[in-house]
Amino acid sequence: MSFRYVGKPIPRVDAREKATGAARYMTDLAFPGMLWAKVKRSDYPHALIKGIDVSKARTWPGVVAVLTWPDVPGYNGFGIVVPDQPVLCRDRVRFLGDAIALVAAQTEEAATKAAELITVEYEPLPVLEDPRAALKPGAVQIHAGGNTHQHNLVTQGDVEKGFGEADLIIENYYVTPRQMHAFLETEGGVATADPDGGITVYAGSQHSYRDQLQIARALDLNPRLIRVVSNPTGGGFGGKDEIVVQIHLALLAHHTRRPVKLWLSREESVRAGIKRHREFLYYRTGVKKDGILVANEVKIFADTGAYATLGGPVVSLSVGHACGPYRIPHVRLESFCVYTNNGISGAFRGFGVNQVTFAMETQMDILAHQLGMDPLELRLKNALRQGDLNPLGFRMDTSVGAIPSLTAVGGSELWKNRWAKKAEATLPWKRRGVGIATALQGNGLGAGRPDYGGALLRLLPGGTYEVGISCPEIGQGNTTAYAQMAAETLECSIERIRVYTGDTRKAVDSGSTSASRSVYTGGNSILAGAPTLKERLRKAAAGLLGLPEDDLEFFPEGLRGKSTSRSATLEEVAREMDRLGLSREVKSTFLWPAAEREIEGAPGLPEIIYAYNTQIALVEVDTLTGQTRVLEVVSVPETGRVINPQGLEGQADGGAVMGMGYALMEDIIMEGGYYKNTNFSTYILPTALDAPGHVTVMVEESEATGPFGAKGVGEVVCVPVTPAITNAIYDAVGVRVTKIPVTAEEAYRALADNSLLPHGGTTPHV
């Protein structure tokens, strides 16, 4: 079937205004009489609060309001799953990002000074910085319910029986870092007080309707009185799924009845915001000598920091994806999501899958080497096919793209020519290697609750359609994909589509931009609503043109007779609809397909739909300095039908570099609950100079439930590249990486004393 817009590299609808700087982000906004806000945060990673003195701050010139915990009119807590994080701390702080007081002043300088004048008397408590230590008997309890936020245990088959059948068993420990989202726009925005007693909050986020509820809970206001606008958002990657500034903004606007702006510096963003979970992983994997996997035992300790946010669901996904896209009959998968006094970890692109993919794909590489098998062949031999039972015991009924993705990567120039590429090292002390890894990534919110969506479709009098879907545009291009799918479905010119996202007043609640769900949700919501609206247009046009409805067809600017030259523009049809009393607006609903029941021991699992990706990397390691350069990456995402190939390439390019930073550079280092690197001077990110040559090969396995066959692409593109790189390092210099990031210093040490021994770390972490 050919399409006019779907599958075409349509330019982004927001390209011009973003490229020229004309786009106004929420932190760009200013209103007359606007105040500036600052947050007084904790001075200790863990302490009791014995007293808070704001008297000096209140009298500082220009200060309009200083708020502490008694000023929170509603529930003094927030958190997507468990509201365990205080809006303003009363008697205890649990990490350095905890907020104690808010200041609003005439100028940013006055607000900053006043916040400095707030004095807090503390009684320090022991600091827990390692999740394994936090589980030991006698450890200080960070929350009343203990330090285990969530424990998962999934078993299938008989894991010891499986190991008994294995010809080769390998056992290794892995450690992954606390990665920063590093969005361009740090958390911030403006809140205004509305004449009706309500509040409007303009702040970038990934689910404006859920923010609305969290704000309402803290302010004890009817959610109807709160409008949240979060589009455009200057990058999210999961880090703006949770509330950071929104309640503080709303609280200050509520008390002062004036516009208030709060915008975190990069340092404060690092201190108060969300990170990727640091995980400690134990893997024991058994395989037959022909390469068939028979058993996998996994134990994960995840550092979720001081508060829950989405830690539980993240670590559930670690468990759900711990075995990769492979058939393994006997598994035991256990995880502990643990509170510590470190910075909070929560949602981050990949959502718990990156950590386990690094570990599992390293296991696969080790097995291939020990078995003397080609690493691609080993993966192909075990890869899931449609209809297989996966390691969780759930049947894979939807499209499964593992083998098509692996097969396509095997046909790539880099893979076919890898021996020649390895021989092209530029200097005698530089060694080259090629590594491979593959992954799957669940799409949608999984089992146990409806994952809902919806779209507002409206024909305006001028003949333009409005499409309102709340999933915010966070830079990934869903606005353009929505416009393409709406134009395709409504059979009109794409210039006649106006898309609204991330605004509780302009779009119906279609959930979050997360879980690789926004294109699938929005597209299906458009498809659900368009037929009703088109039926009304057809009825109006039939009367207008004096033709039977079944003799009409849509054309880019309106409707026309199939067998006559008579036509009506969309403007004319809209007028006729008004005359006939036909509504020009439709609100559609959509529910994701879901498993009938959750997997025992793992809330939220399984997902029904998965995206796949195989990535290979060519690296060059300088054996004198330990520096690794990633020269080439090939990505083969299988994400269903591609709605916009240019958009997919953009996602794949960015994902490859993000996964590369995770492998080689990025880690928020914490010692004793204190951050050691809070800006890009010390938190090293890949730059354009580090980016490898990148080729994206698209494999399209149409997903029957997806809009036009599409699945989600946003996350899986950044996942397997990390172990592809670390496996390439092994291929280059024979050093097995079990702890990332493998910085130049780490690699140099390993090369110098061979401390990173082949086949795994030497110190048990569990």
Partner: protein
């Protein structure tokens, strides 16, 4: 009139059964349904009527299917 109600996740404490049939007088709103079950947290919940998101003021009608759940999220992009 009869409507069907399903609670999800921790909210199942209000009713375990999926699609529980409830008899209510004609003209009631979602808020009346929440009263019927004694739902305490009225702010931080998501209510779907026939799979569309509504608030407490939404009027219910015969045959409506109501789902009541906690908001959640996931993933990063």
């Amino acid at each position: 009139m009869q409507i069907k109600v399903t609670f999800y996740g921790p909210l199942k404490r209000y009713a375990q059964e999926d699609g529980l049939a409830v008899e209510l007088p004609a003209g009631v709103k979602v808020s009346d349904l929440l009263d019927h079950f004694g739902v305490e947290d009225r702010i931080y919940i998501v209510i779907l009527v026939n799979n569309g998101r509504v608030d407490e003021e939404e009027a219910l009608k015969e045959g409506d299917e109501v789902k009541i759940l906690s908001p959640i999220g996931g993933g990063g992009s």
